[in-house]
Symmetry: C2
Subunit: 494 residues, 2 copies
């Protein structure tokens, strides 16, 4: 309710009481429709101190079914959060499809506060906003409805509101010294907020500025916008979805100016057993030293293994982990996603496993499944896998910016070599499990996979996260190439 006797309430009590029941039942109905829609909702409540962010949250959890809502406030970072890229804490709490997450504070908070206090330049502020816009686009394209509310209070209203709260013994506790500090910086805060709104107000993730001086008007407005946006989004879904999933035809290959890259790999390399042993010992020794050094320097590392079926990923990975203290690494074999994973953006399950400072995560298959098997098998439609290149570049860029070392391997073997290995696997009892009908099916798609790999390498080999194509026909030389490459990357970074 307005605490300012001079202003007439925008929403008289009677009018509010009249409108509320209808809004509530419609909101609920829409929330139930949301449940099985495949759409998730991120609702950001932001605004100056005293504008009533907490009250809006309470109102919404009263109006909606609280079982479908996750409220999340962002505050002090834990060390587990500090040791990962900045967006890790947000990825952790993104809502599953069918659910609504209400965020008090968000990815905007830190940049705006830093900017208002003049601790970052305009340029850096804008870079942070562009990263946010990119992040929101990634979520929105995956089906997340993003609604961002800026609760507005004039400088004078804020002052009066804080005073009113302070003078009432029952609400006195709500006012913090920092609120008055922020009040003094009202203009800086408002200007930073305005700038962030302008730069990130997109069709996919729109901002709504809501007058917050009259609490009834404020809450009803937020509720209405939520209702309307949900309805629009849900009306669009089925059609939009079927149209998209309809294009499950084999995608046209991207025309690349580059030579097909796999062809350049020299598969004739071999290594004698003697040389292999000597070099393996040497590089494993070096790797173990580097691994501890990385731990001391608190540098985290991500190693990605992709490759043809039977290319020998498993045994190459073991040559790496043999040189590592088990306390320092985690091996993530990537198989079918769990339902929690399926209910989120495809990158979510990989964010989950990012290493802490000084630790290693080794992915046996990875997010590149999106542009490999999902592309070839049509599990992702063309716009999805084409978009993925940019999403993945952005993801890895965040890792690099955080200081994480990324090493990515594609283990290449010839089609003939694969055939030999498939046959051999069928002969050895304890290797039979490694060869399934699926492997034979995948083999028939060799050419399609070949294009997908070439595109992947062309699109996602960046300066700080380059691909290493490993000549895999000779297992010994492949293992040495991998050990050596990991050592080189770590050596450079440390």
């Amino acid at each position: 309710m307005s605490k300012n006797p001079k202003t007439r309430p925008l929403m008289p009590k009677k009018e509010y009481a009249k409108q509320l029941p209808k809004l509530r039942s419609e909101l609920l109905q829409t929330q139930f429709a949301l449940r099985n829609s495949g759409v998730s909702v991120v609702l950001i409540v932001s605004g100056v101190d005293g504008a009533g962010k907490g009250e809006v949250v309470h109102r919404l959890s009263e109006w909606l079914d609280p079982r479908g809502i996750d409220t999340q406030a962002f505050w002090q970072l834990s060390d587990e959060e500090l040791e990962r890229p900045a967006f890790w804490r947000f990825w952790r709490v993104l809502p599953a499809r069918g659910r609504i997450a209400i965020f008090v504070g968000s990815w905007y908070t830190e940049p705006i506060v830093e900017r208002a206090f003049g601790r970052i330049s305009k340029a850096r502020f804008e870079t942070a906003l562009d990263r946010i816009a990119q992040f929101e686009r990634t979520l929105a394209q995956d089906g997340t409805l993003i609604l961002k509310f800026a609760l507005h209070l004039s400088k004078n209203d804020q002052k009066e509101r804080l005073r009113d709260l302070e003078q009432n013994p029952n609400t006195h506790w709500r006012v913090f010294p920092s609120d008055w500090t922020h009040h003094k910086l009202y203009d800086s805060f408002t200007s930073a907020a305005q700038c962030s709104i302008q730069r990130t107000n997109t069709a996919l993730a729109p901002w709504f500025t809501v007058e917050a001086n009259d609490s009834r008007f404020r809450d009803l407005t937020v509720g209405r916008i939520l209702l309307e946006s949900l309805r629009k989004r849900l009306a669009k879904t089925p059609a939009a979805k079927s149209a998209e999933t309809g294009t499950k035809a084999r995608p046209a290959p991207i025309k690349s100016d580059q030579e097909p890259l796999l062809d350049k790999v020299d598969l004739s390399k071999t290594l004698s057993r003697h040389k292999y042993r000597k070099q393996a010992a040497k590089y494993q020794g070096e790797l173990s030293r580097l691994v501890w050094q990385a731990n001391e320097k608190r540098v985290s590392t991500v190693i990605v293994f992709e490759g043809w079926d039977a290319a020998g990923k498993g045994s190459c990975i073991r040559r790496i982990t043999e040189a590592m203290d088990p306390r320092l690494y985690r091996l993530i074999p990537v198989a079918a996603p769990s339902d929690e994973e399926r209910a989120h953006h495809y990158l979510w399950r990989f964010w989950r496993f990012l290493p802490r400072s000084g630790r290693f995560t080794i992915f046996d298959r990875s997010w590149y499944g999106r542009v490999l098997v999902e592309r070839v098998e049509g599990f992702a439609n063309q716009s999805e896998w084409q978009r993925a290149y940019g999403e993945i570049r952005d993801f890895e860029e965040q890792l690099v910016e955080h200081g994480t070392v990324i090493v990515k391997f594609w283990i290449h073997i010839s089609k003939e070599e694969q055939l030999q290995r498939f046959k051999k696997r069928e002969e050895i009892p304890y290797k039979q499990h490694k060869i399934t009908d699926e492997d034979w099916r995948n083999r028939k798609q060799w050419t399609a996979y070949e294009s997908a790999v070439n595109d992947m390498v062309a699109q996602t080999s960046t300066r700080n996260a380059p691909w290493t194509l490993v000549a895999g026909n000779d297992k010994k030389s492949a293992r040495i190439q991998i050990l050596k490459t990991v050592c080189e990357h770590l050596g450079k970074a440390l």
Copy 2:
């Protein structure tokens, strides 16, 4: 391989090569059978430094399908781990059904190290071991196969092994100064380990001491024990399971000496609107101060809400959260479990949400579902829900020992009051979603639920985690009772 030229290898190379292929294929077959068995495996690899814990892990991940294995080493605690009860870090990484977790280090590590260094008394050491035995029983009864390996090396062998490693430039890095410190304490370590083995060597979670001086013998022995134990466990499963799930008949009520407790609740209490407003403001004010005080003192709090359908849990919870800064609490509405949750012990999903220091978690329904709905509906069989009382007491005891404040509410209303509210809900459009066929079905089971509630309260009201039965017929007085109770509990703890 044995590095001691004086000892003859227990497992000659030829013999090893002969036996290995069969073991590997049998291990794999058994692992595949495990996949859909509902059984999870925890395999603990422990032993003195130099015994080759890491090598055993590598061997197992070579022999088994690595996609079904999670290897986990426990080392430095993160702050997120430090801020929860000690077992939180272990619950976090328990394997899902069908999977094998290999732990290097475990819940035994800390007690043994502390005891070996003489930093804890024998009595405290034994208490820690009993807690471990209880924890392992909880997992085993839920279907987890627990295998614990102690790799044994004599004092002399350890010395030679460490020296050998140190002298070889390629393995030099494997030896830490702490290894030599531990070597000097060999006898203390061995004695603490022996004591822990004796005290926790149960049929449900047996220990296996394996001679580690000959690496081939060591690895083959571990592999064989794993194979044999897996086979035995899997042979038992279907029979054992069907026998258990066969008893889905309505359980016999526990005969309790105590008066039925719900009957003692005085449902005639009322509160005038005026008094309610005054008291609500008072207690909400007090609560907000206490919440910040708890945050400063880094005390964490868990509040549990249970109650009849339509008892008003939601609105009571809102009266609590209104007084809390959104950054300080998390509300967890408990509905159907996700598949990740279903694949673990029923307490796993609640461990997930335990609050950090200085924070609050409010559970809207909780682990008590096990002894309420799951008991009454027969989702848990009699031995499962009867066992749950002890499991829950133990769980809450761990919270209390950690310093967490626990407040538990059962909101009681009369059967007539429930009928009134059901009818009213059917009339108000935005409340219709709150009343479903399930509610009417549950209502028919009123008497069964009544017994379940009385048993629950009798069995799980402990000094530090008592139940508060709330008189819920009058909503206003219920809310005040709840606010006041939370304040009292916090006040006492701070």
